[in-house]
Amino acid sequence: MVPKDRKYTNNDEWILEENGQFKIGITDYAQTALGDIVFVDLPGIGDTFTAGQDFAVVESVKAAAEIYTQVSGKVVAVNEALDADPALLNQDAYNTFLAVLEGALDGEVLTPEEYEAKIAE
């Protein structure tokens, strides 16, 4: 069961709107597929992105995965705890955000039900 309070993407990211800002993370499905996460390359505060661009990289022992934003806007916060402990993403993907963006959600997103159906395929 995926949390119902947020939106999802076709690339296994989640987007949670809070106070007009958007927290972005990766789903539990994504962290399981990646395996042991050993490094997260986060954007800089103030960096700007448009929907569909990659804004971070999550690296596991096996692979590097680019993380995409469906929000066009500016990075206002990043999860610095991931610098010291990237495995937080393995432990609790839905409560471990990568970055917070301020702007407009104008990319393609899925509802929790749609995302659940997608990963069940």
Binding site: G35, V38, D41, S60, V61
Partner: protein, 360 residues
């Protein structure tokens, strides 16, 4: 997964929750629990790998020795029965056909172990070069092969119980050991940089042998280990992997495994080409900036492109990101390099290979 080849342990992997992937046409697990945990288990206790996808070729006949001596870069003259020897087979131009392990039963009987991904190509190469009294038999389907690797491997074998001798010296083997009632060929070999053995048994006995070793090893911290850990372990020990550190375009001397190339021996395929001075060499790199180096990243020295990484694996037991790289010989002794990662040039320093060496 349905169109992939399966080892005799396929169902074992599925039952153990292995994450199955397509590995060169074989359905094999990349991990069971976690690559990091499996890696640590091998370094600190023991790990059990299914390596039944490796190919076995039986070579018999009066000319078997002369034939293999011609194909191998290493010298088989000094092998006595019961010894294993690591070697390359090269093309005439010095590129590598495959790296192999030669098991000598007798002067007219050898077993050759080849990489799974190269098995068809190798077998064709073997057939193409046959002369005199040499008979080849591809025995791969008949064998299951398990690798029991890690400092506690002997305790695990003791717990299972065996009759016969576990080979005491590295790169030796015993053709017949009964392990938990199962007939095995046991060699003191491996691909992890750790002490351990590899056990070959009849394909049909593979799952039972795996279960015996797994159960006996559990009190010692043994974990079933898969391809992910196999790669991170061999990488840490700087053991070359075909397709990465050596290819049909990378010679063994460039890979810096001259110990397996004996230029003083009589003619072997590739010898003439290997006499030319090398233009590039494998080195070890450690990233000093934050990031992860992976294979096929460009390597620079003083702003000039000098080579590329052949393998880069974030190894849990190493501090920082490491890589092996093939660089121009003129800069192969330099200290400072840059590796380009997603458009950014990050600083790296040369470090000695291997990254990990077990204490004796």
């Amino acid at each position: 997964m349905d169109n992939l080849k399966k080892t005799p342990l396929y169902q074992t992997h599925v039952d153990l929750g292995g994450k199955m992937v397509d590995f060169g046409g074989w359905a094999l697990p990349v991990q069971y629990s976690s690559i990091i945990e499996e890696h640590r288990a091998v370094r600190e206790a023991c790990g059990l790998f299914d390596v039944s996808h490796m190919g076995e070729v039986d070579v018999r006949g009066k000319d078997a020795f002369a034939y293999l001596q011609k194909l191998c870069t290493n010298d088989l003259t000094t092998m006595t029965p019961g010894r294993c020897r690591y070697s390359m087979m090269c093309y005439a131009d010095g590129g590598v056909v495959d790296d192999i392990l030669v098991y000598k039963h007798s002067d007219d009987h050898y077993m050759i172990v080849v990489n799974a991904g190269n098995a068809d190509k190798d077998y064709a190469w073997f057939e193409e070069h046959v002369f005199g009294d040499v008979q080849l038999e591809n025995q791969s389907p008949a064998w299951a092969q398990l690798a029991l690797q890690g400092p506690l491997f002997q305790k695990v074998l003791d717990a299972v119980g065996y009759t016969g001798e576990i080979p005491a010296k590295n790169y030796t083997f015993t053709p017949k050991v009964i392990v938990g009632g199962i007939k095995c060929l046991v060699s003191r070999t491996g691909y992890t940089g750790e002490d351990g053995v590899e056990l070959y048994c009849a394909a049909a006995d593979g799952p039972a042998l795996h279960k015996l070793l797994l159960n006996a090893g559990q009190p010692y911290g043994l974990l079933p280990a898969a391809l992910g850990a196999r790669d991170s372990l061999r990488f840490e020990a700087a053991m070359p992997l075909y397709g990465h550190e050596m290819t049909d375009e990378i010679t063994p001397l460039e890979t810096n495994i001259g110990f397996a190339v004996k230029m003083e021996k009589d003619d072997f395929i590739g010898k003439q080409a290997l006499q030319a001075p090398i233009k590039r060499r494998r080195i070890g790199l450690k990233l000093t900036d934050r990031g992860i180096v992976r294979e096929h990243y460009d390597v620079y020295q003083n702003g000039k492109l000098v080579g590329f990484t052949t393998s880069g694996v974030p190894v849990p037991t190493l501090e920082g990101s490491h890589a092996m790289a093939l660089v121009d010989i003129g800069v192969a002794d330099a200290e400072d390099f840059e590796v380009e990662i997603r458009g950014k040039k990050l600083h790296a320093v040369q470090v000695p290979l291997p990254f990990y060496k077990r204490s004796k």
